[in-house]
C-alpha cells in the first residue's frame, strides 16, 4: 500500500451497528489531501456513523484510519486510539453547547486550566473572527441557532485540532444565515490550515463547500471526486428565441415524477425535481453529468 505524502486522512473500514436481527453495515473508503471533504448522501446512508468512527466514538470492526501519517485505527495491529487522544474537533448538528456554561466558558472548555490565560489572545481573536465576541457572557439558551454553531466552531478550533468534523452543522439554520456561516467556515479553515470533513445531505451545500465530495449510498461510499463530477452541474440556462408553451407534470410525487417542458421548437423531459421553467422562458436544469460546452 502506497500513499501520496500529502494525504492527510486515509480511511478504509467496515463496521456493523444495530441489533443482530436488524444490522446496519457500513463500508467506507475515502481520502482527504487538504481542504474540506464533503460526505454527501441521503439520510441514513452512514455519513454520521462514518464521522463517529473518525472521531473515535465507535470502533470499526475491520480496517484502518490514518491521520497525518499516524494510525488512529488499525484493526490488524489492534490499534484504537481513544477519542480524547485524537485531537479531532467536533461540531454536531444538535445539542452542541454545554448549557451550564456561558459562551466564553464553552469556547475555553477544552483548554487546560493553565492555558486559559496564556491562550486568551487566541480565544479572543477566534471569537472576533466568528463574530461572537459580543456574546462572551451570554448563556447558550439565549443564542440563535447560527450563533450557537459559531460558538461550537470556536470551541473546536480553540484547541488547535488536527482535523475538524462537522455533522450537518448548519442544517437547522435559515438560508441567509447558512450562507454566511458557510463563507466564514471556509475562510477560517483556509486561514488556520485545518482540514475538515463536512457531512451534509443538501446538494447545494455540498457543491458550495467541498473541494472533494464522497458519495454515500445505503451504507457504502460509492464515489469520490470533484463536486461537478460527483453531483453534476447546477446551471441556469436561458434559451433565446424560444417560448415556453406548456409545462406538464406526470407521475406521482416521488422518485419517478417527470416534467415535460414544451418550447417553440423543442421538448425537454426529465425528473421533476431537476427541471423547472419560469414564465420568462428561463429553464433550470439539474444535470446528472457535466454538460459539454
Amino acid at each position: 500500500m502506497t500513499l501520496a505524502n500529502d494525504t492527510t486522512l486515509d480511511a478504509r473500514f467496515t463496521l456493523t451497528v444495530g441489533s443482530p436481527s436488524n444490522p446496519f453495515c457500513l463500508e467506507a473508503q475515502f481520502q482527504l489531501d487538504r481542504g474540506l471533504l464533503v460526505l454527501f448522501g441521503p439520510s441514513g446512508a452512514g455519513k454520521s456513523l462514518t464521522l463517529a468512527a473518525l472521531a473515535g466514538h465507535i470502533s470499526p470492526q475491520e480496517g484502518l484510519i490514518t491521520l497525518a501519517g499516524q494510525p488512529l485505527v488499525d484493526t490488524r495491529r489492534s490499534i484504537h486510539v481513544a477519542a480524547r487522544d485524537r485531537r479531532i474537533g467536533l461540531v454536531p448538528q444538535h445539542n452542541s453547547l454545554f448549557p451550564f456554561r456561558d459562551v466564553r466558558g464553552n469556547v475555553t472548555f477544552g483548554l487546560p486550566r493553565d492555558q486559559r490565560r496564556s491562550r486568551n489572545d487566541v480565544v479572543e481573536s477566534l471569537m472576533d473572527e466568528l463574530g461572537i465576541a459580543h456574546l462572551a457572557d451570554a448563556r447558550p439558551d439565549a443564542l440563535s441557532g447560527g450563533e450557537r454553531q459559531r460558538v461550537a466552531l470556536a470551541r473546536a478550533l480553540a484547541v488547535r485540532p488536527q482535523l475538524l468534523l462537522l455533522d450537518e452543522p448548519f442544517a437547522s439554520i435559515d438560508d441567509a444565515g447558512r450562507r454566511a456561516l458557510q463563507d466564514i467556515l471556509q475562510s477560517i479553515l483556509k486561514d488556520h490550515g485545518i482540514p475538515a470533513v463536512f457531512v451534509t445531505h443538501d446538494v447545494d451545500e455540498a457543491r458550495r463547500m467541498g473541494q472533494q465530495v464522497v458519495l454515500f449510498e445505503r451504507g457504502r461510499t460509492t464515489r469520490q471526486g470533484r463536486p461537478r463530477d460527483i453531483l453534476g452541474i447546477d446551471r441556469k440556462v436561458s434559451i433565446t428565441g424560444q417560448v415556453v408553451e406548456e409545462v406538464e407534470a406526470s407521475g406521482a410525487d416521488g422518485g419517478d415524477a417527470t416534467q415535460t417542458i414544451r418550447l417553440s421548437s423543442a421538448t425537454l423531459t426529465g425528473p421533476r425535481d431537476s427541471l423547472e421553467a419560469n414564465e420568462q422562458g428561463q429553464l433550470h436544469i439539474q444535470a446528472e453529468l457535466p454538460l459539454k460546452g
Partner: protein, 223 residues
C-alpha cells in the same frame, strides 16, 4: 426517655448518612453504566439492582445474615482476617440500609443521566477529557437535579429501613436501635405515646426529604 429518643434519632441519621456515602459512588457508576453502555448481561444487572426494591426487606436481611453471619460465607473469614464481626452492629444497620437504598438511587439517577445529550459527552471527550473528568465536568453539571433527587430519595429510604436491619443488625438498645425499630418495640410493649413520638418525627423528616427531592426532579422545576 428524651435521651433515648435523641440517641435513636442520631443513630438513624448517622446510619442513613453513612449508608448514602457508601452507595453514592457505586450507585452513580451503575446508573451511568446502565444509561450509557451496552454489554452482555445488562438486563440481568438491571434485575439484580431492582431486586432489593421488590423483595421483602426480610429476605434482603436473610441474605445478609447468610453472607456475613458468624457461620455465613464471608463472616468467619472477615472475623479471622480482620477481626471484624459485622452482624448485630451499627455497621450491619448501615449495610442493610445501603442495599435497600441502592435501587432507588440507581433507578432515579439513570434517567437523569440518559437525558444528558450524548453529543455533549462526545464533544467533551473529543476535547480531550478523560471519562472521570467527563463525568464531573459534563454529566454531573447537566444532570445534577436528577442526581440530587436520587441521593435524597436514597437517604430517605435508608432512614426508614426496618426489615433487613432487624434481621441483620437486631434491636439492641444503645447500639442498633434506629427509629423504625424503636417504633415497633414501643408499640409491642404498649408504649403508644413513645411510638407516636417516633412516628411523628420520622414522618416529618421523610416528608421534608421527599418534598425536597420532588422540587429537585427534572420536569417539575419552574424553568
Amino acid at each position: 426517655m428524651d435521651t433515648e429518643l435523641g440517641f435513636s434519632f442520631m443513630l438513624s441519621m448517622r446510619v442513613a448518612t453513612i449508608a448514602l456515602l457508601v452507595v453514592t459512588v457505586p450507585g452513580l457508576a451503575l446508573a451511568w453504566l446502565q444509561a450509557r453502555r451496552r454489554y452482555p448481561g445488562k438486563v440481568l444487572v438491571d434485575g439484580l439492582v431492582l431486586l432489593p426494591l421488590v423483595l421483602p426487606p426480610t429476605v434482603v436481611g436473610y441474605f445478609l445474615v447468610v453472607l456475613f453471619g458468624r457461620r455465613g460465607f464471608l463472616g468467619p473469614s472477615l472475623e479471622s482476617l480482620l477481626g471484624l464481626s459485622v452482624i448485630f452492629t451499627p455497621t450491619a444497620a448501615v449495610l442493610a440500609s445501603a442495599i435497600v437504598a441502592l435501587p432507588l438511587l440507581v433507578k432515579t439517577a439513570q434517567p437523569a443521566i440518559e437525558n444528558v445529550p450524548v453529543e455533549l459527552e462526545q464533544v467533551a471527550s473529543s476535547l480531550g477529557l478523560s471519562p472521570v473528568a467527563l463525568f464531573f465536568r459534563v454529566t454531573l453539571p447537566a444532570a445534577w437535579r436528577g442526581i440530587l433527587a436520587a441521593l435524597v430519595l436514597a437517604f430517605a429510604r435508608a432512614l426508614g429501613e426496618f426489615g433487613a436491619t432487624l434481621m441483620f443488625a437486631g434491636h439492641i438498645p444503645g447500639k442498633t436501635n434506629t427509629m423504625p425499630l424503636e417504633i415497633f418495640a414501643a408499640y409491642q410493649s404498649g408504649n403508644d405515646s413513645l411510638a407516636l413520638t417516633y412516628v411523628v418525627v420520622l414522618t416529618g423528616l421523610s416528608l421534608l426529604v421527599v418534598t425536597v427531592a420532588a422540587r429537585m426532579s427534572p420536569g417539575t422545576s419552574n424553568r
